[in-house]
């Protein structure tokens, strides 16, 4: 039985996202009030301890620790940035939050600004999310009219089509009006971020969890879900699943409950072949691995990752190599071009996978894919290139007969594990 638990989505579908009064009637902006009367360092300790809230964008870094870094940095200006550049294929959780409850994001950011001592903040919203962009702008205006921003100037800035800008330093470059190429870290943004000043960059879902944590406290949040990655997580389902839908559940929920309980399983009498949790940059897993909890560390133990929380279900009608075609094309298109292993590697990988998918493969090409994948994982500059072949490597490991079938130009080899 799947137990939904809504923290970041608590108001979605219940309030009018255009109405600050609705949000306030639901208890909104009370956490901000509480935060403003608290000592900033105590507030940060609360977030840090408070359930060890870890970033919901995919990296899983301790949010309080990030805040502490920026709070302790000495600078005349500091910035808070909300990463709303959601672009990992299969992921739409941030859109659901922003379109359903924009004020919860604004409140989370204002609490952060108060904790780290920032007077300015930006929401970098992907260019394709026009509706979210407008709702956020409206929410900021309403918060200002009620004097809730407390002198903090928040702004929504649009992206213009670039996946790598979801990486925090690339996002900062883009916000500064440059190409979205990642920076070398360290220095981390908490020390030298936007305009060279200390900057906190958090994901939409992370900010949306903040008001509840401040309001209800550390113990409460820590008691929910997996011990080392407590709280809830939104999962967005897509692919060959009866209910292509989304839900927020405690982090110790199993993948089986997500795929079958929320998703309703595979439709049309087909059987489950593979699940890719976390987006195109993450590994495929098989049906036999679904009893694992979905939290960050349990997924890591499987050799996989939680990533953004997207769940792509693939049934046994597909040869996995055909699914790798759009995945490798995606990375070839989105590579920023800064480093050679990624720029050339993603292009070569897409070509090799397409060759195999279209019946032009041979053993030599398979060997090249393995070699290239290893090189890219170890030598690409940023996580985009390092993870661009993760899905390919996992597919080769779990579905070798699909590759074999393609080499022999047979139709989709079928691999099923219940």
């Amino acid at each position: 039985m799947v137990q939904e638990m809504r923290i970041t989505l608590q108001n979605v579908g219940k309030i009018d996202p255009r109405s600050i009064d609705d949000y306030m009637q639901a208890g909104g902006y009370q956490a901000l009030e509480k935060a403003r009367t608290a000592d900033p360092m105590e507030l940060i300790t609360e977030v840090e301890r408070s359930g060890k809230l870890r970033g919901r964008g995919g990296a899983g870094f301790n949010t309080g620790l990030k805040w502490r870094g920026a709070a302790q940095a000495k600078a005349e200006r500091k910035y808070v940035i909300c990463n709303a550049d959601e672009g990992e294929p299969g992921t739409y959780k941030d859109r659901i939050i922003m379109e359903g409850d924009p004020h919860i994001v604004i409140e989370g950011m204002l609490i952060c600004a108060c904790a780290v001592g920032a007077a300015e903040g930006y929401i970098y919203c992907r260019g394709e999310y026009q509706k979210a962009n407008e709702l956020l702008k409206n929410a900021i205006r309403q918060a200002e009219e009620k004097g809730l921003n407390g002198g903090v100037r928040l702004q929504v800035v649009s992206g213009a089509g670039s996946y790598v800008c979801g990486e925090e330093t690339a996002l900062i470059e883009s916000l500064e009006g440059k190409r979205g190429e990642p920076r070398l870290k360290p220095p981390y943004p908490t020390v030298e971020g936007y305009q060279g000043k200390p900057t906190v960059v958090n994901n939409v879902e992370t900010f949306a969890a903040i008001p509840s944590i401040v309001e209800k406290g550390a113990e409460w949040f820590q008691s929910i879900g997996a011990k080392k990655y407590p709280g809830t997580k939104i999962f967005t389902l897509s692919g060959d699943v009866v209910n292509r839908t989304w839900e927020e559940v405690p982090t110790d929920t199993t993948l089986r409950d997500i795929v079958y309980g929320i998703g309703g399983g595979v439709p049309g009498g087909r059987r489950l072949k593979a699940v890719q949790v976390g987006g195109s940059s993450c590994r495929f897993i098989t049906g036999g691995m679904l009893d694992s909890a979905a939290d960050f560390d349990s997924m890591a133990r499987l050799g996989a990752s939680l990533g953004s929380g997207s769940v792509l279900v693939v049934d046994d009608s597909h040869n996995i190599v055909d699914v790798l075609v759009p995945i490798t094309d995606f990375f070839a298109h989105e590579s920023c071009g800064k480093c050679v292993p990624c720029r050339e590697g993603t292009m070569r990988m897409a070509g090799l996978i397409r060759d195999i998918a279209e019946g032009r493969g041979d053993e030599e090409k398979l060997a090249m894919i393995r070699m290239l994948s290893g090189y890219m994982q170890s030598s690409c500059f940023c996580p985009l290139g390092q993870s661009a072949t993760t899905a390919v490597a996992s597919a080769m490991e779990y579905f070798p007969e699909d590759f074999e079938g393609k080499l022999q130009r047979k139709e989709a080899a079928v691999h099923v594990e219940d």
């Binding site: 959601e86 672009g87 990992e88 294929p89 299969g90 992921t91 739409y92 941030d94 859109r95 992907r126 260019g127 394709e128 999310y129 026009q130 702004q155 929504v156 800035v157 649009s158 992206g159 213009a160 089509g161 670039s162 996946y163 883009s174 916000l175 009006g177 440059k178 190409r179 979205g180 967005t236 389902l237 897509s238 692919g239 060959d240 292509r244 839908t245 989304w246 890719q276 195109s280 997207s310 792509l312 279900v313 693939v314 597909h318 055909d322 699914v323 075609v325 759009p326 995945i327 094309d329 995606f330 298109h333 989105e334 920023c336």
Partner: protein, 149 residues
């Protein structure tokens, strides 16, 4: 041109974002014309080399005119699994062009887009900025008919 210049100025005052200046120009003129980019360059006091350096990085910007109706089909894995390939084939057949092309009369441009975050109702596509979901190949004819009305 004056419209583009005005929109650049208002973006500069409102958010100061360079990307938003490009987006505003493109909205007004259909693509990033050289004259419009010069206007951005002057307004922001950024040299043209840098203007091109930034603009050419982002996939939403165009440097040549496109069709009156721009159809962008998501090509990522979730839409692919849901049959986006068949949707593209149906669109290609109906429009008489292959993906990446514009019809001779300049009415339609058909191209790919990366994930647009509408995977709950895939295959999804965007027509002149408007999202359309669950567009399986059998719905293509109806969709195109609704556009000409």
């Amino acid at each position: 041109m004056s419209t583009a210049r005005q929109s650049v100025q208002s973006v500069k005052e409102a958010s100061g974002s360079l990307l938003e200046a490009f987006l505003a120009v493109q909205e007004a003129e259909g693509y990033l014309t050289e004259a419009a980019l010069k206007a951005v360059s002057e307004a922001y006091a950024i040299p043209m080399t840098q203007i091109y350096e930034t603009a050419s990085f982002y996939s939403m910007f165009r440097f040549a005119p496109a069709g009156k109706t721009i159809i962008q089909v998501c090509r990522n894995a979730p839409c692919h699994v849901a049959g986006a390939g068949d949707t593209v084939a149906a669109l290609e057949q109906a429009l008489g062009i292959t993906i990446g092309e514009t019809t001779k009369d300049g009415a339609f441009t058909l191209e790919y887009t990366e994930c647009i975050g509408q995977c709950q109702a895939s295959p999804s596509l965007v027509i002149n900025g408007e999202v359309h979901t669950s567009v399986t190949s059998d719905k293509v004819a109806g969709l195109l008919a609704s556009l000409s009305n």
